[in-house]
């Protein structure tokens, strides 16, 4: 902060008084700063404490407390048929959507980056605008109807298609930016040697934009992994439901909630998200990518 003003030796009394006031103000600012930071840290940490303590507590309760350490709770988790299965379902939905979004978006972004189709820019902006307006929440009624008419109720494919449709505009938009920034000369030489456009894309362009593809893939997977609403609307049988929905049924279905199960399940369900986030931020320097989170 401000360096202390050097009080000249011939300072008058007022000057010294002012310097004293200044010092007091600075002390107050420092105290205020640390108070604010501690309060904020407490505010953000306290709700999370339970997630760190309860899974390892031999008698987990609702209150966050220092656990008497045990791993027995994880056995409860492994014994629960729905719990482990739902994590598998989440993986199927997330990876399916991620793959579909990356492939479709890469194809579209490449074509839009290299060929000026009529109305391209307007189309891109319109789609981006649309994807932020037509959210799952605002469109839950027609999405439900559509799935019903297409016989996609209680089908994981339905969830994947609906989620992909929502994620694609942003994915195309971001990937096109990446593709615009890559040099064309390699593609031209590949073409001289008789490679088809699809081969050029696979063997020349994809390696160049791999960071962009990885970012989009991780982003899509993370979005789907945490999504509650769409699978909640479209899936009926618990065997097909992802972790987000099963977790919700664990604590809303009557009776005493099984805290050993809920805590270990929450932890296991959260870890992949944190890992993905760390991966992206360390690999590609996730500081700020505009509205990367919907």
């Amino acid at each position: 902060m401000t360096p202390p003003p050097a009080t000249p030796p011939e300072a008058t009394r007022e000057d010294r008084h002012a310097a004293g006031l200044d010092g007091a103000r600075r002390l107050l600012a420092t105290v205020g700063f640390y108070t604010f930071c501690s309060l904020v840290l407490a505010f953000f940490t306290v709700p999370l404490l339970w997630l760190a303590s309860a899974p390892f507590d031999d008698t987990p309760s609702i209150t966050a407390s220092l656990p008497s350490f045990t791993l027995a709770n994880f056995e409860t988790l492994l014994d629960n048929r729905y719990a482990m299965r739902s994590l598998g379902n989440s993986a199927v939905l997330a990876l399916g959507t991620g793959a579909l979004v990356v492939v479709c978006a890469a194809l579209a972004a490449y074509a839009l980056s290299r060929v000026r189709l009529p109305g391209r820019d307007a189309l891109l902006y319109a789609l981006l605008l649309l994807s932020s307006i037509v959210t799952g929440t605002a469109a839950m009624v027609p999405l439900f109807n559509l799935a019903f008419e297409l016989d996609l109720i209680d089908s994981q494919l339905g969830v994947i298609l609906v989620l992909s449709g929502g994620l694609l505009p942003s994915a195309v938009f971001i990937l096109k930016d990446f593709m615009d920034g890559t040099p064309r000369s390699y593609e031209e030489s590949a073409q001289v040697f008789g490679a088809s456009p699809l081969q050029v894309l696979r063997h020349v362009v994809v390696p160049l934009v791999r960071p962009g593809l990885a970012t989009i893939a991780v982003w899509a997977v993370a979005q789907v992994w945490g999504n509650f609403l769409i699978p909640f609307l479209l899936l009926r049988s618990p065997e097909k439901s992802p972790a987000a929905v099963v977790m919700y049924t664990f604590y809303t279905e009557g009776g005493q909630p099984d805290l050993a199960l809920i805590s270990t399940f929450s932890l296991l369900y959260s870890v992949p998200v944190v890992l993905m986030f760390l991966l992206v931020s360390s690999r590609y320097g996730f500081r700020f990518h505009g509205g990367i989170k919907r």
Binding site: A108, L130, V134, T137, A139, L168, A244, S266
Partner: protein, 311 residues
Amino acid sequence: MATSPPEPGGRRAGAGPRERDAAGLGRLGATAFVVPALLLIAAFLVFPALWTVYLGATDYRLTGLAAVDPQVVGLENVERALDDDGFTHSLGLTLQFVLGSAVIGQAGLGFALAWVLRDRRGLGRRLIEAMVLLAWILPSSVIAFLWIALLDRDDGTLNALLSTPGTAWLLEHPMLSLIVFNIWRGTAFSMMLYAAALGNVPPSQLETARLAGASSWQQLRDVVFPRIRGHVLTNLLLISLWTFNDFTPFLLTGGGPEDRTEIMPVFIYETALFGGELGFGAALSVLMLLINLVIAVVYARLLRRRKDRDR
């Protein structure tokens, strides 16, 4: 730019270096590449939006006669919605939720954090940032249960900390709880955006202002704010849009107690999918889409204006 000929090089006079059909796709090939993505978007994004508008004009229901043969009732549903006490009640709650948790809470706390931590490097800053981000990235089902546990009447950590045993926060102060919850949940985005924005304010200008004897508040008002005005607007519009469309409160309160936390997304869910009144629910969705549209269009115009200025 017209289609590049499929001959090697694909280079044509007039084709700028940024737009060269280097792979010899041609217009047909490009269209084929774009079609899968467009089909998915058309089917699962554009069509539902249009269908909402149509459904909103019918008396479509999940079961019964109207399910088999829905009749067009025009604007009746929308009028009914605007007259409906449930709707106005829900709209008021939504407004409280968006203003309180996003516009005031997340933006305010996010800016305060970015400002206070702006020249700090070290463990403290990293720790705070990590916890704020963690609150943002964890799955909402998990977060919802963590808060239910935190606010529990009998054994909740909050009651233990504040020594207020027996306070059922989610029953006694449901809206306040949700607002605080959502501030906690979403501050990370504003913090990161403002941290990036403050990085663009030249330190020399702040230094000059400080030497001229400007207080912190004056520095903020006269030096910082004019430079980050665009970011502030971007931030406010985006977080409003997201908070408006957030379904997570349903996981905490399910709209209750009574209907005291029935914000718009929950209201639509209860009416259309739980109550089976799809037509009326769709009319509500149309209104929600319209509000989204207004926010998004304002945002898009803002972006364009900034782009024009940068040119």
